[in-house]
Symmetry: D2
């Protein structure tokens, strides 16, 4: 019997990507689709790439509309998930693609998001140590941010294996879809094509505390993070270049061994053969993560680089993967490691 | 029992796209993969987006390697298919993604391709009148060119319904993957990003006679074609803007009715609602065709515009669609109308 | 003594490009800069590429602010120029970069712009027959639209020489800056990168009557125009592919001769050597126009293709060129035919 | 009397950009243009954006052809400059845009370039401490690499002022023109559009020893460098994100003061107002450098980010700037700080 799924926030990029994946998920039946400012509009005009759903009409995001589903995905602006989630019963699986329930530390939430902390839900990055167990059977899932997904998967093996000192320096480039579908001048095609630019420099990006939380968790002790996100002239993709000083005694071989072990059984994370480096184009539209790691002996640093699709593994694909685990389905159901390239 | 498929020419863009589709085709088992200049290399280094096939090694394109398959796809340079095909028995389904067997007229072939004409095979554009019947059960299929696919689907309803005069003016923009994976200076990223440029102007493009053949076939009498292809700064996609003078008595309503009728039962061709126009992003990675048509009364012309993914519906998706028909499978097996956007 | 110039509307793309050109114009001193919604802001934050003007602050667009200049450029939304212009004295050279004073026919204006027609000023496309004489000494100039510039320069020689039948079919691709700097969802980088799409199909684009006016003027009798603009994934540039049926007796030689004659003395229009086709990248940031023309004997059509930078020759460069003529300066002062490529 | 200039290697991107700048340099007359594999070809077909030089024909790079010029620019493959330079007399100003004479340390050269070290010439990054004096009157100039230009200008003030610890972590994104005009598969538009990818990771990039040399020089003691270059989907531009641990006692104020002091009199380096970050689009085609710096107290690191045009300030503009100094001209002659945006 099909799992009946509703999507609150179906008109944006995260919602659209989620529907793209749900359409090919063999266990899912797509139910209510909502979108407040676009309620009443045909999905065909809002998401013209989703032809099988072209005739569906968006509804208001109300408890009545969302009732009667086994799973409700929330693709809402930050801070709005809690109010919707509490109206959904405890038996409904609620998968929040916003930030609301990601952070453990209420002070971090308040500092970066400026509102009261709503709580913490099991964290939907199954590849992190201990994460899968927390997701199994859970009725609430907090989907990670796109940057934290790319960065944590690149660096956690080094921290989990005790290879890296407690400060990481991270520079990540993201496609523009990570900034959402709201019309803003600095996101116009005319502005972004042909241009690279940083933002949120100096620890200001909201994903910083989430990265700190993940790496500290893998390490078992606090990890400080210098995180610089940059906007790249492409629609999709994150390339995260992550470095950390190596602890004494670390060698290229011990680094590689740690990464091979960490990802040996992971269905979506591929440690590339030595000498081959990730490219975001290779994971376009795919739930795969490409990772490569090197040890630079001249500066005694570990350099780990990952490529993901920010909308797939970084948002909607990660959400579906966690849903699969929470529902007891095979984790890879409906998800692909095949990119659309060139 | 799975259909066993070989791909000759698996290292290029057409071959890579074909493998992307075959990997999710439920009836297919991927057999031999060949690529002459790249024989011996891992597919993981040549097509890094196809992670499930990363460990496969390319072989030489020889009769022995291609033997023992139910279907052999040929993604070879123009002029090389006949020699390979004749070594494959009459019971093997051979799907040629090159130009060799598309044209009826040997003189056209010789003029545009400069070699002896190899023959004519059933033409793999099922949506054209009569095409499906010729493909059913056939053991040989000539996959259409990418431009002829986009243009013919945009215009054939007007000609089949007798609405258009016998001259069409077509300007089409293509992504760079249509020019293939060979390293050429004018196809460097530095050259194409930020630039639009025409080529093959004045009837010189090799797809011109194929377009003429298709439109003349739909019309029942010769159609002359002014075809200008342009290179656009994107990897994938064709947008074909096609116009023809309307015959006396044509109205906006009669044009729309003809298109609605032509595509009513087509699984891949979507006539958009009035007022919505195609965009190549909406069919990125999809086998769908988006079509819109208008009648401009001020100049009495029909304007039909289509968007396809040149590598999917324009090449590999069209090939799989025809394979399905030839094998007696449901035509849509393994193919999607969902694009990867944004 | 320097010509003192004010720019009303300095925060948009047209205004920014104009300032880029005026900064290197040897006869000009940049005076007041205005921008209503951005009044009070530093130009350094609005136009960060114009470093020499970074410290300038935008003022309100009022008669007092604009007073005391020899030349006032208006880069305002359509329909707002007349009210500003009438407050500027008859001795001030007013160069309107909007559409308000381009059209001769009031009915055309009202149909396409929906307001009362403000009048007609000398038309700032000096290359058109008779246009230079009208601009010399004029105190009012209507700068052409970007598409009409590209299309008219590609086709007028064919019409002026009586080579073409009275219907032209035009498909043009434009970079996104032609749509301006206002934040709109469909112009987001995520939407436009990797996508080609048409708009204003079927005669609906406001530049259609302007193209008709120019070609009819060159022909001496009415020319009908089928014009389809498309949005291309690049910031700048227009590639206009223009075709028209050839009149009886026309040959490739007579076509080429007409174009060579038309552009022989033009400083900005370059008829490329036979076999070389325009590319928008070659005129990026330049006031040059690259034109090529062919005669396709198989369909008896003339195919003329032009490339311009929509912001330079298509807007601000054309404005400066006309200012030069109106002021009696050398027409090329401060303008370049050198593109920024790759 | 004009300075007569020859350019050896005029068909590539560096040579083309140099000619673009020399065409508007008021003291220069462009003499011989050479290009071995392209000798005999019109520049109009090789550099179609340089319309004023379209009719010039490339010659062979021989001593006779290069004789009789005041300045000879060498835009040759690495390792070829010495042989050409030694045939040019000691009174000719030779400006080498290749790497041959940049490094002090012969062992570094041999390790990274694999040939015998040709020597060391005055280094053409005038903004570095002491560099201008060495360039004045010199007859030999080694133009810096593009990455070292961007990185050194971002970080040298921190090292010169003793604010940073002796290890820098740098991640830089470059447009594809930095990889040159040779046809290579991985640089095809189809490959690079929509993709970010790293290369030369782990200290392998040839620009690493040059960066080390510059930062160590500014510091007065060895600086270790972790440098990761990435390829971005744009033609031009480098965005360098550079971080280093702050020494004890460093504050946000002391960092800003050091940068303000370092760039106070620099004509091309602009320290942006606090809160505004560099974007490569803002320096497209310009010799300007945009720099911003922050102090992240949570990790006690200095983060300095610069944007340059890799072909202008990063190559040809830097070369002209150094030529001006060597010849005793005003350093800014013929150079602009105005970008071509959007």
């Amino acid at each position: 019997m099909a799992v009946r799924v509703a999507v609150a926030g179906a008109s944006g990029y995260a919602g659209g990507e989620l529907l793209r994946l749900l359409l090919v998920h063999p266990e899912v039946e797509i139910g209510a689709l909502t979108g407040n400012s676009n309620a009443g509009q045909r999905l065909g005009s809002l998401q013209p790439h989703l032809l099988p759903l072209a005739g569906r009409v968006l509804q208001e995001t109300t408890p009545d509309v969302l009732a009667g589903h086994d799973v409700v995905f929330l693709a809402l602006p930050h801070g709005q998930s809690a109010a919707v989630a509490e109206r959904l019963g405890p038996d409904v699986l609620v998968v929040d693609m916003g930030a609301d329930f990601r952070l453990h530390d209420a002070a971090d939430w308040e500092r970066f998001y400026g509102s009261a902390h709503a709580g913490t839900w099991p964290y939907g990055l199954p590849e992190l140590p201990g994460a899968r167990a927390a997701l199994e059977g859970s009725k609430r899932v907090a989907v990670p941010g796109c940057y934290p997904t790319a960065v944590s998967l690149a660096l956690f093996p080094a921290y989990a294996a005790g290879l890296a000192e407690s400060e990481a320096v991270i520079v990540a480039a993201s496609g523009t879809s990570g900034a959402g579908k709201s019309a803003k001048t600095h996101l116009l095609g005319s502005e972004v094509m042909g241009s690279m630019s940083p933002y949120g420099v100096g620890g200001g990006h909201r994903h910083t505390p989430e990265i700190v939380q993940n790496l500290s968790g893998a390490s078992g002790s606090p990890v400080a993070v210098s995180f610089t996100p940059t906007l790249a002239p492409m629609s999709r993709g994150i390339l995260a270049t992550c470095t950390a000083a190596a602890r004494p005694g670390v060698t290229a071989e011990s680094v590689r061994a740690a990464y091979e072990k960490a990802f040996a059984d992971e269905p979506f994370v591929h440690l590339l053969p030595e000498g081959q480096w990730p490219a975001t184009a290779s994971v376009h539209g795919s739930n795969a993560v490409q990772v490569q790691v090197a040890y630079d002996g001249s500066v005694r640093r570990i350099i780990a680089i990952s490529a993901i699709d920010n909308l797939t593994k970084g948002t909607a694909g990660g959400a579906v993967q966690s849903m699969n685990i929470a529902l007891g389905l095979d984790e890879t159901t409906g998800l692909s490691t095949i990119g659309v390239a060139p």
